[in-house]
């Protein structure tokens, strides 16, 4: 694609992001509120369930849990939507010529909007949970950026697989649920035995959570491995995903023409 069309693509990305966001939230205030309410309800349930059991292992359990839920929720929601993004925008793909990944980016962009709002609210809640504001909070945007890169990398693959295997929609639901339990969203790593803990640390989301909690609660900046590893993995996935997208771009349209 020539460089001259970049402004047009940027505009298309903005348009599609807005369309995606508006259609999903039905353009109503309440719809958007519900999106915000979901992590809050999840937080309340998990907090009430686990505060007595896990609260004694973790300092500031409420803040710990809320950070986990907000970041996890972004990962889960975005990947699930990205998975179906192409089939939802089938009519666009079939009738217009434009780089297909714009659809993917617009989906991520549309979930980014509530995510940013959630993050702002999260900071408010964390303050309310009596966590002292620290200078390391300034590092949080970098952690979030790493998460976005990682999520984007994962999202590149999902719609491509979904175009070929429709079953992936169901499978991914189960997979994310399983992933939720092997990610320390509501439990601390310290309650896991030594050997299994190493295994969990291979999960990039675990690392991202460690980084986010580190800079928000503990006031530390865990650069290695919690920051660098997911970043490298995300960049790698993005590159591979972009390559695959270019390669299977036309195949994708062929698959959509079939039914």
């Amino acid at each position: 694609m020539d460089q001259g069309r970049l402004p047009a693509f940027w505009r298309l990305l903005r348009e599609l992001t807005w369309v995606e966001f508006k259609l999903r939230e039905q353009g109503t205030v309440l719809g958007f509120l519900w999106t915000l309410l979901y992590p809050l309800l999840m937080f309340i349930v998990l907090y009430l369930l686990f505060v007595r059991w896990l609260g004694k292992f973790v300092d500031m359990y409420a803040a710990y849990l809320l950070i986990g839920i907000v970041l996890w929720n972004f990962f889960q929601r975005t990947t699930c939507l990205a998975l179906t993004s192409f089939s939802r925008r089938r009519s666009l793909i079939k009738n217009y010529k434009f780089p297909r990944e714009i659809i993917l980016f617009s989906t991520i962009g549309s979930t980014l909007i509530p995510f940013v709002v959630e993050l702002v609210l999260l900071l408010g809640f964390v303050l309310a949970f009596r966590v002292e504001p620290k200078l390391t909070w300034l590092f949080l945007p970098a952690v979030i950026a790493v998460q976005i890169v990682f999520v984007t990398g994962v999202s590149f693959f999902l719609p491509l697989i979904a175009a070929e295997y429709r079953d992936i929609e169901r499978i991914w639901e189960v997979l994310t649920m399983a992933l939720f339990y092997v990610t320390p969203v509501f439990y601390p790593l310290s309650i896991i035995s030594e050997g299994k803990r190493t295994l969990l640390l291979y999960n990039p989301i675990t690392q991202i959570l460690i980084a986010a909690r580190g800079c928000l609660i503990d006031g530390t900046i865990p650069l290695w491995p919690s920051f660098a590893v997911p970043l490298l993995e995300g960049l790698l996935l993005c590159a591979a995903g972009y390559y695959l997208m270019r390669r299977y771009e036309y195949h994708l349209v062929d698959r959509m023409m079939e039914p």
């Binding site: 047009a8 298309l12 348009e15 369309v19 429709r166 079953d167 771009e249 079939e258």
Partner: protein
């Protein structure tokens, strides 16, 4: 990108596109997909939608593309738009392009038209500033200004089609790919579209138009590509392409064979790709498309056949019609002349003959008519007039005779009637006077007897009172014995709508005693016998005192905790086989639920005795208080020592003789004359006044009670009010308020304070507990402890309402309560 030769903007070489097609394409499972991808085989087969196409389009050229359905026209456009990638061969497209159909499908029905236009522009690669700049032109073209903020889904399909189209034509496309699906919208809009295409042509843009409208192709495109079954059947002059298309597909043979033979010569299938098995026939058309082609062919054939036949038959018809017309013309010319001549001749003869006949006939008829008329008139005039005169005379004489007869008989009847009436009048008036005398005598006798009876009861009182305290006797002795007027007995039943026996007594206790005497009188058998139990509340001890004297056993039940009156649950508990009567008393400014009590007693065959010393004239439900019980005594006049205090004893009509019976008053009767009333005013005037008084007094009392209740309700922490039954028209002469247990003052203190504060405004009858539970040393049966009774008696404060200034009393209460508050 290689340089296209000689201004060619589209160059395709051996262009082919295959799709996987099969009946299960949508239901393919993942397993099958894996299998197919791994082995390259599967239940699906490859369909070549387009194959071996060589095409070169120059800049500024307009190329038409025609062909039956499934020929690969749309696939070609999608390939040129770079939405699909070719499966084989190559295609080069120089310049910005997009297909011009299906644009609507990308639009969102929930978004507004403006948002959709913006989206569509973005999809067509239009930067922000260009869109802003061209929006007015788009709107001018589409005429959608009025719908800018309407939801896209709300537009009609014609209007909706304009949205994307108007954006697309401003999209700076170099190569425009048009599909005929575009041709929606009204004629005006279609004309506009055509004009736009002409404009594009003028601007030197390259147009590719796919259409089934051969006319449109003919008008717009100099060169046309005719596709059939994915192959280029012809590429060249439009007229020739259309001719071929019509001949092959519109003709009898929808078979694509000859097409394939002609077109494929230079592009014989190259080495078959490995994914494609050998067995695949070359240029296999899409079966659906083939079927559609066959249908198209048959349809066209039928159409042409029908057209030919129609022409032939219409030609023959015209011929026949012409022949018939010629022959008719000749015949008409021949015959009409002869016929006309004959006709005219005959008509002339006929007219002459008719004229002759008419003249002769008229003359004869006129003569004979005149003759007959004259003869007839002469013959009949005399005769008829004579007969009429005779009949007139007869009728007159008959009427006169009848009138005379009637007159005579009337006179006679009148005289007879008069004498009969006179005699009847005499008889009847005599009888009537006699009867009148008799009944007057009877009435006088009856009044005399009643008066004597009444006087006797009056005289009995002092005798009975002989055992009482000396001062009571002295009061009674001082009573003037005034004869009662008979009307008293009529006024009260009317006022109360009471039909049974009624007796006016000097005091409430006297009335109650009269009642008890009547109920216990032996002949023919007593309603109440000694030893039977009478259930009542303990709050009316002075009444209970009489019962043991007559041999009855009073049974005390506790009060209902809410109404502070006799309650059915408590009553139910007190019943025993010896129970014979229930005594309902007025209490706490109200009466018990008489309606339910009546039903309760009827069900158990118990006597209901009503004692309502302060409720004469009150109403409970549909009846007056006092008329619910089998027997009742009611009283009015609030103050105990008032000379107006007196009472009525009533009974149901079944107990008609109750006051005629003479029963000795027991020796042991404790004489408790609470209201020794002089009977000074107990006459007709009082009765009338009292009954008239009921209404006005009731209204006054009601207002006072309402005010007091409202006031007391504002101290829910200190004071409680007994609940009044809904049917009871709150016409109480007294108002009861109960001081709560937690209150910082007692009922006695409140009473004292009120008496001191309001002085003469407060009546003397401020009665309050505690009273003793002894029944004058007589036998009684208490069902259980009586906490509610005790509560009422110890904490209740009873204010007589008559003559009470409610506002004044409220103020006194408020003063008292505010004085108490801070102190404790």
């Amino acid at each position: 990108m290689p340089e296209p030769g000689a201004g060619a903007v589209i160059r395709a070489q051996g262009l082919g596109k295959s799709f996987l097609i099969g009946s299960k394409s949508t239901q393919e499972s993942s397993l099958e997909t894996t299998h197919r991808l791994l082995t390259g085989t599967g239940s699906q087969r490859l369909l070549w939608a387009l194959r071996g196409l060589d095409l070169e389009v120059r800049r500024g050229e307009t190329l038409g593309i025609i062909g039956p359905n499934g020929a690969g026209k749309s696939t070609l456009l999608l390939l040129l738009a770079r939405i699909l990638a070719p499966s084989e061969g190559r295609v080069e497209v120089l310049g910005k392009t997009d297909q011009f159909f299906g644009l609507d499908e990308g639009l969102q029905s929930q978004l507004t038209v403006l948002e959709n236009m913006s989206l569509c522009a973005a999809l067509l690669g239009m930067p922000d500033e260009v869109f802003t700049q061209r929006l007015p032109a788009m709107l001018a073209f589409s005429k959608l200004d009025d719908y800018l903020y309407a939801k896209f889904g709300e537009l009609s399909s014609g209007l909706a089609a304009r949205v994307a189209f108007s954006v697309a034509i401003h999209g700076d496309l170099d190569i425009i790919l048009v599909d005929e699906k575009l041709a929606v919208g009204d004629a005006a809009f279609q004309d506009k579209c055509l004009a736009v295409f002409r404009d594009f042509q003028a601007q030197g843009k390259t147009l590719l138009i796919v259409s089934h409208s051969l006319r449109l192709i003919d008008r717009l495109c100099p060169r046309t590509l005719y596709l059939n079954a994915g192959r280029a059947a012809f590429l060249g002059d439009t007229t020739e392409a259309i001719r071929l298309f019509v001949q092959e597909c519109g003709g009898a043979s929808p078979e694509p064979r000859p097409v394939a033979q002609r077109a494929e010569t230079p592009r014989e299938e190259p080495a078959a790709p490995p994914a494609q098995p050998e067995a695949l026939p070359q240029a296999v058309p899409d079966p659906d498309a083939l079927l559609e082609d066959i249908r198209d062919g048959v349809r066209a054939e039928l159409k042409r056949d029908r057209a030919e036949r129609a022409t032939e038959s219409s030609r023959r018809l015209d011929q026949a019609v012409a022949q018939i017309a010629d022959r008719l013309e000749a015949f008409k010319a021949d015959t009409s002349a002869a016929l006309l001549q004959n006709f005219n001749q005959a008509m002339g003869q006929l007219a002459d003959r008719l004229e002759e006949l008419r003249a002769a006939g008229m003359k004869a008829a006129a003569e004979s008519l005149a003759q007959r008329q004259t003869a007839f008139l002469d013959a009949h005039w005399e005769e008829r007039s004579a007969a009429f005169a005779k009949r007139l005379d007869e009728a007159v004489s008959r009427i006169t005779g009848e009138i005379e007869g009637l007159q005579a008989s009337w006179l006679q009847g009148g005289a007879r009637q008069k004498s009969a009436l006179d005699s009847q009048w005499e008889q009847r008036s005599t009888a009537f006077v006699k009867k009148l005398d008799h009944s007057v005598g009877q009435i006088v006798d009856r009044i005399e007897a009643l008066r004597a009876d009444w006087m006797q009861t009056l005289t009995e009182v002092p005798e009975a009172a002989a055992g009482g305290p000396a001062d009571v006797v002295s009061i009674l002795k001082r009573l003037p014995r005034q004869p009662l007027e008979a009307e008293v007995f009529r006024v009260w039943p009317e006022a109360l709508r009471h039909t049974g026996p009624l007796k006016v007594c000097g005091s409430f206790n006297d009335a109650f005693l009269t009642l008890l005497c009547g109920l216990t009188a032996p002949a023919p058998e007593p309603r109440l016998r000694p030893g039977q139990e009478v259930v009542m509340t303990a709050a009316n001890l002075h009444i209970a005192g009489y019962l043991p004297a007559f041999g009855m056993v009073p049974v005390f039940v506790d009060l209902d905790p809410a109404a502070f009156n006799l309650g059915l649950p408590q009553l139910e508990k007190a019943l025993s086989p010896a129970t014979r009567a229930v005594l309902a008393t007025g209490l706490a400014g109200s009466v018990p639920d008489l309606e339910r009590l009546r039903a309760f007693c009827d069900e158990r065959k118990l006597l209901l005795i009503e004692c309502a010393p302060h409720h004469l004239g009150s109403r409970f439900g549909s009846r007056m208080v006092g008329t619910w019980g089998d027997a009742a005594c009611v009283a009015a006049g609030g103050q105990a020592d008032s000379p107006e205090t007196w009472a009525l004893a009533l009974a149901r009509p079944e107990l008609g003789d109750i006051f005629a019976r003479k029963a000795p008053r027991p020796e042991s009767l404790p004489l408790i004359l609470q209201h020794p009333a002089p009977l000074t005013k107990l006459g007709l005037s009082l009765a009338r006044e009292a009954s008239r008084h009921l209404g006005a007094a009731a209204k006054r009392r009601k207002a006072a009670v309402a005010q007091l209740r409202a006031f007391c309700s504002s101290y829910p922490g200190l004071l409680t009010l007994p609940e009044l039954p809904a049917q009871f028209s709150a016409d109480a002469e007294s108002f009861t308020v109960i001081v709560k247990e937690g209150a910082p003052f007692s009922a006695a203190e409140l009473a004292t304070a009120l008496a001191a504060a309001s002085g003469p405004l407060l009546p003397a009858d401020v009665r309050m507990g505690p009273q003793t539970k002894r029944v004058y040393g007589l036998e009684a049966r208490a069902v259980s402890d009586l906490p509610n009774t005790g509560f009422l008696l110890s904490r209740g404060l009873n204010l007589a309402v008559d003559g009470l200034d409610a506002a004044e009393t409220c103020a006194a209460l408020a003063r008292f309560i505010s004085a108490q508050g801070p102190r404790r």
